[in-house]
């Protein structure tokens, strides 16, 4: 008899196990499947920096959380409905994230004494009463997988590596999701090693059938498709959206893309992604260090290409001198910073947004550089495209800020039409139009951009460099008044970008009690929070800044329309300082520096506290 199916609005699942247990790949597959059947979905991969920490250790636990819904959602969820743990260490690390009465699926075969000890358990938690507030499903995942695959030709080690698909089969059953997308993926993934196709599919089916046949699961769940704007959708990770945004900008501007990079977590996926698109004329150069990586991008820009480099905080520190060169030479350049937890090497696989002040101020001298920040995985496409547009139009380096959380997180993306993409026109100088010959610092009166003259263009031979240049002529100049004037012009050029960006959108109340002001990867938590208050009828607004330098022209006005400005950030208050200094507003910070994104309940707690204080006075 078919078991009953319960309709629910949303679910959050967390897969966790050893780094080698395949939690990331089954998490990704569940995400793909659930997105393809129309749910809104958001993900949070959480994995250690060590490639293979000792098996069974707490340090080696790798997790993948996904949240899917029949409504629009913006975060990978605070607490989980289902926690799948492959070993005791995974239980130890993640149990606190499981909701009361949530489903815990544990691979009991890995709960032997050695693994318990490695996780710091004195006795088996599955056998104690420590888990009574959860629905615990003890499953012999390893043994059942071995049994299902006993007729295959695989070794025992190879069979055991299929057990993640047994677990995925169970979850697909639990949420009434089809297996076909995963099967298709398995076939494609192992096309070169076909001996693994059948066993992985067998394991997947076995997990699915197991739930159907045993008494363990009485109910399964269904989450209906979410309402989406009409269009064609795909699931996308932030770093992949960045890759596509860069290719699109290159294509639209007809500027060949030259991407210089040095491997670094979590930015390497951009290098990997772009390297596949040689047929778009994309040049990727893996350089000897971070400085060389920005160097080739600057050289390419001087030559008339779209020069781009990408890294994370430590790499940005090394690139800062070269970025300043691009700034004073006034060449287009896009520098992607996929932030991670600092300082120094920090926590390379954990998220943070603590590089904002570094991006603003981390260079010698007066060095204004525009900053564009993406707010969610799919927004990386538009934001990096916008960074390219500004760089080319204003002849300036532009910093594109992303972070590990959105770079590696995934969500559905409505694929834009090419015609919707803003124009990017290089407008190269082709001839000298003054009687004095070519003047490399004779500016466009509106944008203050200087001409971009490619080597190879006859009659426009000129020299640029890091020494201060005389206005108009571009000759080396130590003249004190000229220097001050050039400093002002460079600042004014960046300031004028504010005239070239759309008005700021305020979600929720357009004026009132509290404005949630954010930037970057905290969008999801802030928007969900704002939605909750707005649903209760409270006058709370949310503004999420894409343009951080310059700030939008209307931001000052907006800030003055609210009694309190709350700026939640995954740092110690960096935008907070900038806003307070720029607008002389007594904004309030909510700061978290734990390498983890905000939970919605953390924001609620702070807002409730502020509201309470406001009632008080």
């Amino acid at each position: 008899m078919r078991k009953p199916v319960e309709q629910i609005e949303a679910a959050t699942i967390l897969f966790a196990g050893d780094s080698g247990d395949g939690s990331q790949s089954i998490g990704t597959q569940m995400t793909e499947t659930t997105a393809l059947i129309g749910n809104d979905v958001a993900t949070l991969p959480d994995y250690p920096a060590e490639i293979r920490a000792p098996a069974g250790s707490l340090a080696g636990v790798s997790g993948f959380q996904l949240h899917f819904s029949s409504e629009q959602i913006h975060t990978p969820g605070d607490l989980c409905d289902v926690l799948v743990v492959m070993n005791p260490a995974a239980l130890k690390m993640h149990l606190h994230k499981l909701k009361p009465n949530g489903i815990l699926i544990a691979n009991t075969d890995n709960f032997a004494r050695r693994n318990l000890r490695l996780a710091g358990y004195e006795k088996d938690p599955l056998e104690s009463d420590a888990l009574t507030k959860y629905q615990v499903f003890r499953v012999e995942l390893t043994r059942l997988t071995r049994k299902a695959l006993e007729t295959t030709q695989l070794s025992m080690g190879e069979i055991d590596r299929c057990k993640n698909f047994f677990a995925l089969g169970m979850i697909l059953w639990l949420y009434n999701r089809p297996m076909e997308y995963t099967m298709k993926w398995i076939k494609a993934k192992f096309a070169q090693k076909p001996q693994y196709i059948e066993p992985n599919i067998l394991a997947l089916r076995a997990g699915n059938t197991y739930c159907d046949m045993t008494e363990q699961f009485a109910v399964s769940y269904d989450v209906k498709p979410a309402p989406f704007e009409p269009g064609t959708y795909r699931n996308i990770e932030g770093n992949m959206a960045t890759v596509l945004g860069l290719v699109a900008a290159s294509h639209r501007s007809e500027l060949p893309l030259v991407y210089g990079s040095y491997p670094i977590t979590p930015a390497s996926d951009i290098l990997h992604g772009l390297a596949k698109y040689r047929n778009f004329g994309v040049v990727t150069m893996q350089m000897e260090d971070e400085i060389a990586a920005v160097g080739v991008a600057i050289g390419a820009a001087f030559s008339g290409a779209l020069g781009v480099t990408g890294s994370s905080g430590p790499g940005l520190a090394l690139k800062s001198e070269a970025m300043n060169l691009a700034m004073i030479a006034e060449l287009p350049l896009v520098v992607c910073n996929i932030q991670r937890a600092g300082p120094s090497t920090g926590m390379p696989t954990k998220t943070e947004q603590s590089d904002l002040l570094q991006m603003f101020y981390g260079r010698n001298g007066e060095s204004p550089i525009p900053i564009v920040a993406s707010s969610r995985p799919f927004d990386c496409f538009e934001s990096v495209y916008e960074a390219c547009r500004i760089a080319v139009k204003y002849r300036t380096p532009v910093i594109f800020l992303s972070d590990l959380y959105i770079g590696m997180g995934a969500e559905p993306w409505r694929i834009p039409k090419i015609s919707e993409l803003p124009e990017i026109k290089p407008s190269f100088a082709v001839s000298a139009d003054t009687t004095n010959g070519f003047e490399p610092y004779l500016r466009d009166p509106e944008t203050l951009a200087r001409p971009w003259a490619k080597p190879g263009t006859a009659g426009l031979e000129h020299r640029i460099g890091g020494l201060e240049k005389s206005d108009v002529t571009g000759h080396v100049s130590y003249d004190s008044e000229n220097h001050e004037k050039m400093v002002e012009i460079r600042a004014e050029k960046v300031a004028r970008i504010a005239n070239d960006i759309p008005p700021t959108e305020i979600f929720g109340a357009q004026e009132g009690e509290i404005l949630l002001l954010g930037w970057g990867g905290t969008f999801g938590a802030l928007r969900t929070t704002a939605e909750n208050y707005v649903a209760e009828g409270l006058p709370i607004g949310h503004v999420h800044l894409r343009h951080l330098n310059p700030f939008p022209n209307d931001l000052g006005d907006i800030l003055h329309r609210f009694k309190k400005i709350l700026i939640p950030e995954l740092n110690s208050g960096q935008l907070l300082q900038l806003i307070r200094a720029t607008y002389l507003i007594d904004a309030i910070g909510l700061n978290k520096v734990q390498g983890q994104p905000f939970h919605v309940f953390e924001l609620h707690a702070k807002i409730d506290e502020i509201l309470k204080e406001m009632e008080h006075f």
């Binding site: 793909e32 778009f280 150069m285 290409a305 694929i415 090419i418 490619k454 190879g456 006859a458 890091g466």
Partner: protein, 350 residues
């Protein structure tokens, strides 16, 4: 004939002269600096190369020599300390038709930019690198450099605490990094420097020339034995492909291999003849001979070899990359952005 990517001036176009390559900026090196001579020789050979002026790009780092691009009426980029090789690589990659020249010094190339220098050599972009070696930091007022001889007295190693570092041998370093064209010349040896500059240009691949250059102010006469007329014949040996290594005012001395050591021998006393001497082979793929020759300048009393140590043809990075792009386009067609954005599993909401 080696195929260069650099565009040539069409037949019948007006001939350029050295004055066409002089910018309107006053040259500001110290009086009698060796840089003047290198600048003049470069401006002399450029019109002879047959390439349009607008296709020439000079890229430099920081240091006295790095002001060079400002004095050339070509495209130029005076960049940051040590990083010229990276910027030049980007320039060349984005437009392989350009003739790209890196102007650098011993501090710029071998100290702060050491990493970029070795990686430029191994990538073999078709770029010409001129290293002005004066064994001192001039612009910062006379500190010892990575090519200063051990025991150098300088502003950062005053009396009683002479420099302790073992110097780099730029030729050995270039060879070890896989350089495909390695040569040495002297700032004021005009008739030698010009053909070296031209050979560097004609070589397809990264061409490296170490130029002994005198810093009159902070390290005067560091190369006196190799530079000055009265000494140079006894203290340098000209490398000529296929010829034995003969030197000396009377051309009475030569270099032979004694085991694994080069040795100076007298070819007039009957013990040795020119038949016993090393015969230079600049086209050898194997770098053993080139390394022997490079090591001579580290050995007291050995003449310093001048000329081309090595000249071999290897694929250039920019050509390999261009081929990858061409192959990818042939295989899958020119990139279709619409198809790329819609790649993978998609679904439609109506």
């Amino acid at each position: 004939m080696k195929r260069k990517r650099t565009s040539r001036i069409p037949v019948g176009a007006p001939t350029l002269t050295k004055n066409d390559f002089k910018s309107d900026q006053d040259v500001r090196w110290c009086p009698s600096c060796g840089d003047y001579s290198i600048l003049a020789q470069t401006q002399r050979i450029l019109p002879e190369l047959g390439i349009p002026k607008e296709n020439v790009v000079f890229i430099s780092g920081i240091g006295c020599s790095s002001r060079f691009p400002y004095y050339m009426n070509t495209y130029g980029f005076h960049t940051i300390h040590g990083r010229a090789p990276t910027i030049a690589s980007g320039v060349k990659m984005a437009n392989p038709d350009l003739s790209v020249w890196v102007i650098t010094g011993d501090g710029d190339a071998l100290s702060i930019g050491g990493n970029h220098f070795i990686h430029l050599m191994r990538r073999n972009f078709d770029i010409n690198v001129l290293l002005f070696n004066n064994r001192i930091y001039g612009l910062t007022k006379g500190q010892y450099s990575p090519t200063s001889e051990r025991g150098t007295k300088s502003s950062s190693t005053p009396l009683g605490s002479l420099s302790l570092d073992t110097p780099f041998n730029p030729i050995s370093l270039a060879l070890a990094s896989g350089a495909t064209f390695v040569a040495r010349s002297v700032d004021i040896h005009l008739d030698h420097l010009r053909p070296m500059l031209k050979a560097a240009f004609e070589h397809k691949g990264t061409s490296f020339i170490e130029i002994y250059q005198n810093c009159h102010i902070f390290n005067d006469d560091t190369f006196i034995l190799q530079r000055e007329k009265e000494h140079k014949t006894d203290h340098t040996v000209l490398l000529e492909h296929g010829e034995p290594l003969v030197f000396g005012t009377e051309r009475d001395k030569g270099i032979r291999l004694n085991g694994f050591q080069p040795e100076v021998v007298d070819t007039t006393n009957g013990e040795y003849t020119t038949e016993d001497l090393i015969v230079h082979d600049q086209y050898a793929e194997d770098t053993t001979l080139a390394n022997f020759l490079a090591g001579m300048s580290d050995t007291p009393d050995m003449p310093h070899p001048m000329g081309i140590f090595r000249s071999v043809r290897h694929p250039c990075y920019e050509d390999l990359m261009t081929n990858q792009i061409r192959t990818a386009k042939e295989r899958t067609g020119d990139g279709d952005l619409e198809a790329l954005l819609n790649d993978g599993e998609t679904w439609t909401v109506s």
